[in-house]
Amino acid sequence: MPDHAQILPGTLDLLILKAASLGPLHGYGILLRIGQISGQALLIEQGALYPALFRLVRQGLLKASWGTSENNRRAKFYELTSAGRNRLREEAEGWNRLVAAMASALGARPEEV
């Protein structure tokens, strides 16, 4: 994966929560939406998605239910729980603070120090 950013550890969960917050999705759908909302910049090995999904379900942040997909196949849909919504907000704020801090740190010029 030469010109794509590697995913940072811990950020996959955040991306999944974000993707699921936009409406119930099955696993492959979440992958596609992550690709879509990140402008295809973040690529992961696709299998890695599932352990993360299972973990989030177990933590009660996602809710899983079986349903029918757009092409009429049985699929498991993931949906954000209220706990998941709270977590997403907290994590997003944390992330934004980090990004702002990093940006200002990296944008610093010699005369500002």
Binding site: Y28, E45, Q46, G47, L49, P51, R58, A75, K76
Partner: protein
């Protein structure tokens, strides 16, 4: 909460295991299928789309595994999987499995059965209240050589009067026998006469009725308590027995209760009767005193107080001058004799187990080396190291549990064997007493012990090879194997270390066994000073307690014994018979005393001559087979009407009259009005206190001049003693049909009892040592042949380059033998320290006997060389071309 939740998830995980598994599979596959469809729509071929979708997904199994872990099904799932995998691996190598299980079974069986035995004898608490605070109190007189003798009733009363601060309570008892008549056949019963605090002292909850009341000591009430066994045997467990009467020694008694069954080990008798205060003052032989320490009082404090009390008593009572007290906890006094033997066995069995573990670790190790490539491939494919480690552990634990099961079965059998081999009665050292050993059987605790041992060994020998193969570098292992060259040095190194450890452990055990073997054969070969075969002993105590006893006068007693003797001598099959106050080797009692020699100048004050005094009838030396060295033996004329005479043994003769003729000299007992006694003969020395003791100076007195209340009949029989016993009893009862006889034992039985500790140690240690030697040899063989197998290629090169078979042989055997030798050296150092611990069991051989050490060293080196020789011969026959081609 978290625990509950995870437990619930775990439980439902088990329940839904297969469903969850199926759904997960469905979900992952759906993903790949959707992706394939999308890729195909973008214009590439179906086959290419499938390929790309798979690549993009990544390692399917790896993520499935991670999902399982995330779901919480992981743990059980993997344990089951590991177990299944382990079983498969074990089934695939039946030879390996059988060898490992057998090795472990032997180790586990040995340790479980010895543990069972040790637990029953050493660790089981006494079945009484505050058993750990009970102590036996003996009195001693070190100047006279009395280490432990029973106190008298007067001692007991004096101690009570002093209100000892260390003890909550004191208890006195006497072993005795009696005759029960009135209901069917007369029966000899054994029992205890106890102080009336019996019930309270031991916290006895009677199975029926009650125990004695304190105030019942004020007068003679003739109350009797039955033991549980006697109640079952004689009264058929009749629940209405309390309050009934029975006749004991011709007197009416009232049954007041029945003892609980768990007391039967502590009180193996039939009945318990009580002392009254008058009797207590008179009681002076065969007595035992127990004290119950106050909580928090140490044995040392109690002993110090008793020391002070005994010194005070010595000032008031001349016959207690120079006496002290010896305190030993009841729990340890009971097993003093057998404890060293058991501890040595426990140590030995630990060694066997270690060797067994080392062997199985060895086997696992060589298999792990064989599986290095498999492990490398699995690591390369993304298997977690932790997971692989668990798999190795699962396999070895499975193996250990299999071994444990087989071991428990073996242990059940060997425990029974051990119970048969160990006598039920063992002597208490230096005291005229014996105790009953508890019955030994496997129970839950022993099984738990076996399980723990199995699991521990499983983990112990599973970890080493697991780390070994996981530590190796994946790339290296894969490449190495392809080149068919040597395995990592580490593998060979730890194999060698195991050989070393096994050599050392086996050496220590074999040394111990060799010492025991020598000691025991010397013990059996040592002559006790008389003939032990075809000798029956029967003890008779004349009842002089009853008011109308016909035996109040000592001379009547002497005459009565003479009548019994004549009766027995007339029995067909009796070669000869005699009377003796004490039977050698029985430790029934001690009778030691001071004396002076009339012809010699008096000793400085404070010094005494002391000897064992033995009253015997004419014919005793002939019956026992004790040689008369000079002078004459006693005859029927040495009675009350003729001059007093004695015989002395050669030990005393040598000691008192070096280069003199003792005959015609006189010995006299000090502070007595009795006349001096002329020495008329010298007889051979007898090892009276045990095979491993030297004969003690002894003075023999004719029983017709020195009557006793209790004597033993010693009977030399033509046939087996047991066959003639009924006739002997009848001969006694035809003289007096109410006369009890007891302690009926053949000398062979007595010898069996007093050599039991050495015999147990000897037999078990030798079995263990043999086991250790075989296991160690198998281990060394295994390591060497594994090494040879791996070095086939190298050996081929050497031979192609001109090495001769002889050189190859020398190399292989040399390397193995060097390791074993190093192990022997380490074992030698260990053995020098450890064999000292068993010196109390050794007789006639030093714990560091150089000849034994040398012989065992040679033996071990030979065994090690042989174990290397077999695989080395195989290596020697390797054909270079085959070896070079082989992979």
């Amino acid at each position: 909460m978290k625990l509950v939740a995870s437990l619930r998830s775990f439980a439902s995980a088990i329940w839904r295991r297969s469903r969850v598994e199926d759904e997960m599979d469905e979900e992952l596959r759906a993903h790949i299928r959707d992706r394939t469809d999308d890729l195909e729509r973008s214009g590439i071929s179906r086959a290419e789309a499938v390929r790309r979708a798979r690549i993009e997904f990544g390692g399917y199994q790896r993520y499935a595994e991670e999902c399982r872990e995330a779901l919480g099904t992981h743990f059980l799932e993997t344990v089951l999987q590991d177990a299944r995998f382990g079983l498969r691996m074990l089934r695939k190598n039946p030879g390996f499995t059988a060898l490992a299980v057998l090795t472990l079974a032997l180790g586990i069986a040995a340790s479980t059965s010895i543990f069972t035995f040790v637990k029953a004898t050493l660790l089981e608490p006494l079945p009484v209240r505050a058993g750990s605070r009970l102590v036996v109190i003996w009195v001693s007189n070190l100047k006279a050589g009395w280490n432990r003798i029973g106190p008298t009733g007067q001692d007991y009363l004096d101690w009570r009067e002093k209100q000892l601060k260390s003890f909550e309570d004191l208890f006195l008892f006497e072993h005795g026998t009696g005759t029960v008549t009135g209901q069917g056949e007369p029966e000899q019963v054994a029992g205890l006469r106890v102080t009336t605090n019996f019930g309270d002292f031991f916290g006895i909850k009677p199975a029926l009725g009650r125990t004695f009341r304190l105030e019942e000591a004020s007068a003679r009430h003739n109350l009797i308590i039955l033991s549980y066994q006697y109640w079952q045997r004689r009264f058929g467990s009749d629940p209405s027995v309390a309050g009934r009467g029975m006749t004991l020694n011709g007197e009416p008694y009232t049954i007041i209760g029945v003892l609980p069954s768990e007391l039967s080990t502590l009180f193996p008798g039939d009945v318990v009767v009580s002392f009254d205060n008058d009797w207590l003052k008179r009681a002076d032989s065969d007595l035992g005193v127990f004290g119950r320490l106050r909580p928090g009082v140490s044995l040392r404090q109690a002993a110090a107080e008793m020391g002070v009390v005994m010194r005070g008593m010595g000032l008031v009572r001349p016959n207690r001058k120079d006496f002290g007290a010896v305190l030993v906890p009841v729990e340890s006094a009971r097993v003093e004799y057998i404890r060293p033997a058991l501890l040595v066995l426990l140590g030995a069995v630990g060694f066997v187990l270690l060797i067994a573990c080392a062997n199985v670790a060895n086997l696992m190790m060589s298999r792990a080396i064989g599986r290095q490539r498999e492990v490398a491939v699995r690591l390369a494919l993304g298997a977690g190291r932790g997971r692989l480690l668990r798999q190795f552990l699962a396999e070895s634990t499975l193996l250990a549990l299999l071994g444990g099961c087989a071991g428990v079965l073996l242990a059940l059998w060997s425990t029974r064997l051990l119970t048969w081999y160990v006598p039920s009665r063992i002597p208490v050292p230096n005291a005229a007493d014996r105790v009953l050993l508890p019955t030994v059987h496997m129970d839950g605790i022993a099984l738990a012990f076996a399980l723990c041992i199995s699991l521990l060994t499983g983990i112990a020998f599973g970890l080493a090879p697991a780390f070994q193969s996981l530590r190796s570098n994946v790339n290296e292992s894969l490449k190495q194997r392809e080149r068919g060259s040597l395995p990592g040095r580490g593998g060979r190194g730890s194999g060698a270390a195991l050989v070393l450890v096994e050599g050392a452990l086996a050496f220590v055990l074999v040394i111990g066994a060799a010492l025991m073997l020598q000691s025991f054969s010397r013990l059996l070969a040592s002559k006790p000073g008389f003939r032990t075969d075809h000798l029956l002993t029967v003890r008779i105590k004349l009842p002089d307690d009853a008011k109308d006893s016909k035996y109040r006068d000592p001379w009547q007693r002497a005459a009565a014994f003479q009548r019994f003797l004549s009766g027995v001598q007339a029995v067909p099959g009796v070669e000869s018979a005699a009377l003796a106050e004490l039977v050698p080797l029985t430790q029934d009692d001690m009778d030691m005393g001071y004396f002076v020699v009339k012809e010699q100048p008096p000793l400085p004050t404070g010094e005494h001559l002391a000897a064992d005094f033995r009253d015997i009838s004419p014919g005793y030396f002939h019956t026992m087979g004790i040689p008369l060295i000079r002078g004459r033996a006693f005859t029927d004329h040495d009675n009350r009407d003729n001059p007093r005479v004695v015989l002395i043994d050669e030990t005393l003769a040598r000691h008192l009259f070096p280069n003199q003729d003792p005959i015609g000299k006189h010995v006299q007992i000090p502070d007595s009005l009795r006349p001096a006694r002329e020495i008329v003969g010298v007889v051979g020395g007898v090892r009276d206190t045990g095979f491993d003791q030297q004969p003690r100076p002894t003075i023999y007195l004719p029983s017709l001049q020195s009557p006793d209340q209790t004597m033993s009949l010693v009977v030399r029989t033509a046939s087996l003693p047991a066959a003639i016993l009924p006739a002997i009893k009848n001969a006694i009862w035809s003289v007096d049909r109410d006369q009890p006889v007891f302690s009926v034992r053949s000398m062979d039985e007595i010898v069996w009892e007093i050599t039991s500790a050495q015999r147990i140690a000897f037999l078990a240690l030798d079995v263990f040592a043999l086991l250790a030697l075989v296991l160690a040899a198998v281990g060394i063989y295994g390591v060497t042949s594994c090494a040879v197998g791996q070095r086939t290629h190298e050996i081929g090169i050497r031979m192609a380059l001109g090495a001769r078979p002889r050189d190859v042989m020398r190399m292989i055997v040399g390397q193995g033998a060097r390791m074993a030798l190093l192990g022997v050296v380490i074992g030698l150092i260990g053995a020098l320290g450890l064999t000292r611990l068993m010196s109390s069991l050794l007789y006639g051989v030093s714990a560091t006997d150089p000849a034994t050490f040398a012989a065992v060293t040679v033996l071990l080196v030979i065994v090690a060389c042989l174990a290397c020789y077999v695989p080395a011969r195989r290596a020697m026959r390797v054909h270079p071309t085959v070896a070079l081609r082989c992979e």
